[in-house]
């Protein structure tokens, strides 16, 4: 990755974070913590990795993305808006009555959403279905699916994981956002899904563990995933919940809460300062 490309990605990720704060603030509800932790992943997927076209959101050969942790759609919506799927202004109407952007992704109406998700553990199965369809049709598209580390408490995740390995779905790449927190507390204290990497390995996945905020690491991981044949990939991304907004970082309380006026101003000031710094580089 050229320095200029990395800079562009960092700027985009910062704008995605601003979109998240903007959306959740105006919605007066929603899930900023896990949206912010995945900002680099959303950014990398939509601005570097995936074959997608906002002018033709349903094109047959597109790569698919399933946000299995659907509650973090403020991050996905911010990335889609930045990519041009719908106007940025829609972010300010997130969760409002009659608005385009639903509290969880709705594929029927929102351009760029490949699967309706929100009930945890279900997106990964749909992603498996898309990957199988790709194999049946000898299509070259890849399927990316983002899961939460709390979400993998769901038994369906492991049903789907067995399925993916059994069917050698090497066109499927899971990303597990390992930000370490879920609603009731640290994931290891709530129901202890770890060791996450070993579990996916034992289910037949090629597993990588990376820093989910480092674009070089993300690039290397996705590039490697494309070379894996005969089995699905899982990239465990170590992240900081609430990343980029100082008072939200690593705070379980910011899983599903909107900032008040003052917090909103603080968050936007912080992000604007980061943006200005990046642009001045």
């Amino acid at each position: 990755m050229k320095p200029s490309e990395k800079k562009a990605l960092k700027i985009a990720a910062c704008k995605v974070r601003m979109g998240i704060v903007e959306g959740v603030y105006h919605a007066k509800s929603g899930h900023p913590g896990g949206s912010l932790s995945a900002a680099e992943i959303f950014t990398y997927l939509y601005f570097r990795e995936m074959n997608v076209d906002p002018r033709d959101p349903k094109k047959n050969d597109r790569d698919r993305f399933v946000l299995s942790k659907g509650h973090t759609c403020p991050g996905l919506y911010a990335a889609l808006a930045l990519k041009g799927y719908f106007p940025q202004e829609e972010l300010k109407k997130l969760r409002h009555t009659g608005a385009l952007l639903q509290g969880h992704p709705d594929m029927k109406t929102i351009p760029g959403i490949d699967m309706s998700t929100g009930s945890l553990g279900q997106g990964i199965s749909a992603a498996c279905g898309m990957a199988v369809a790709g194999k049946m049709d000898h299509s070259q598209y890849r399927v990316y699916c983002l899961l939460g580390d709390g979400e993998i408490d769901e038994g369906q995740v492991w049903e789907a994981s067995m399925f993916a390995a059994h069917h050698n779905l090497d066109n499927l790449c899971l990303i597990i956002d390992n930000n370490g927190l879920q609603i009731d507390g640290p994931v290891e204290e709530v129901a202890g899904p770890g060791p996450i990497d070993e579990k996916f390995k034992s289910f037949g996945f090629d597993v990588q563990t990376i820093d989910g905020h480092d674009f070089d690491a993300i690039e290397a991981a996705f590039d490697h995933a494309k070379t894996v044949k005969g089995k699905p990939c899982a990239v465990v991304v170590k992240t900081v919940k609430g990343k980029g907004v100082s008072f939200m970082e690593n705070q379980v309380g910011w899983h599903g809460k909107a900032p008040n006026d003052e917090q909103y101003q603080t968050a936007m000031q912080e992000l604007n300062a980061v943006l200005a710094g990046l642009e001045a580089e």
């Binding site: 029927k108 309706s116 929100g118 009930s119 749909a126 898309m130 790709g134 369906q156 049903e159 067995m162």
Partner: protein, 314 residues
């Protein structure tokens, strides 16, 4: 005219889907380790490359079917009704119903006539569950020819469908491959003016038997076959209430949430009339041969006859 056949609707389904596989290359059949029982095995034998055994993991199966549908496939997800409609209800609701995907959820071995396996496998709630999902079509065909036609209609219909299959062999009363099936249209099998019996699925042949016997006793009962529980044929029900006054519904399902309630809902809104519901009266089943179970729970011609006479005597 084709011959009268005695087949379980699950077998008629299996034959139909295997046959339709040729004309519709988009059909993909999924099962959850019950292909021999659900008869999806017929498709598996013919089109192994379009058959996916998901193992004993119904929730994932429904999700995989949803993903396939987003890519233009027509997936049929098979298991016993208890598991495809019951265990995976929330997956059907959120991954299929909400995005209105073109997935066909198939529930075989529905009702008390599963028999010996007993209460854990006798699904008496699937119709209630599936009809509560917005946009879901609910089909419960009654015999071989109706099932074949229903499977074809389900393939041609764009959107989510729940298809209910029975384990028990049933003698066909439709006897032609030309049998016309239209989603949402009830069928008047017998005209009559004293009372109307509205039946669905396995109970249609039982009701037909009852109606014939009642006729010999001078009772002129109308018989309506409701193969589509949702969207239900409002016109045929309202017309029957207007012309015969009293309605009796018959279903191999809990009396809560099934055909009887669907009929009551139509009548209470459009033409209030007394409705007597024959079904399983908010109970669990138990083990025993299917025929005996149907007798025990009053899902037989003699009980339909008895109830009809009581209703007319009121």
């Amino acid at each position: 005219m084709a011959e009268m056949v005695k087949k379980a609707t699950r077998e008629s389904y299996g034959l139909a889907i295997a046959e339709l596989g040729e004309k519709y290359p988009q059909i993909v059949v999924l099962d959850a380790d019950l292909a021999e029982a659900t008869k999806s095995v017929f498709f598996k034998e013919k089109y192994p490359e379009r058959f996916i055994d998901c193992g004993i993991a119904e929730c994932n199966m429904v999700g995989v079917a949803a993903g396939l549908a987003t890519c233009g496939k027509i997936p049929f997800a098979n298991s016993f009704a208890m598991f495809s409609a019951g265990r995976a209800f929330e997956q059907v609701r959120n991954s299929v119903g909400y995005p209105h995907l073109n997935v066909k959820v198939v529930g075989s071995h529905a009702g008390i006539s599963v028999g010996e396996d007993g209460a854990t496998h006798q699904c008496l709630e699937d119709i209630a569950l599936m009809r509560s999902i917005p946009g879901m079509v609910v089909l419960n065909p009654a015999d071989h020819y109706e099932m074949r036609a229903a499977v074809k209609a389900a393939v041609e219909y764009q959107g989510p469908v729940y298809l209910r299959l029975g384990r028990l062999a049933v003698e066909s009363f439709n006897n032609s491959d030309d049998y016309k099936f239209e989603i949402g249209k009830g069928i008047t099998l017998r005209e009559g003016k004293d009372v109307t019996i509205v039946a669905t699925g396995l109970m249609v042949s039982r009701a037909l038997e009852a109606v014939k016997s009642l006729e010999n006793q001078g009772i002129d009962a109308r018989l309506i076959n409701i193969h589509t529980i949702k969207p239900i044929d409002r016109d045929i029900i309202v017309k029957a209430a207007k012309e015969t006054g009293r309605i009796i519904t018959v279903e191999e399902h809990n009396v809560i949430g099934g055909l009887g309630d669907a009929v009551c809902s139509v009548l209470s809104e459009e033409y209030p009339a007394p409705v007597t519901k024959i079904g399983v009266n908010d109970q669990f089943g138990h083990s025993g041969p299917a025929g005996e179970m149907l007798e025990v729970y009053g899902l037989c011609a003699s009980h339909i006859e008895e109830v009809t006479k009581k209703v007319l005597a009121k």
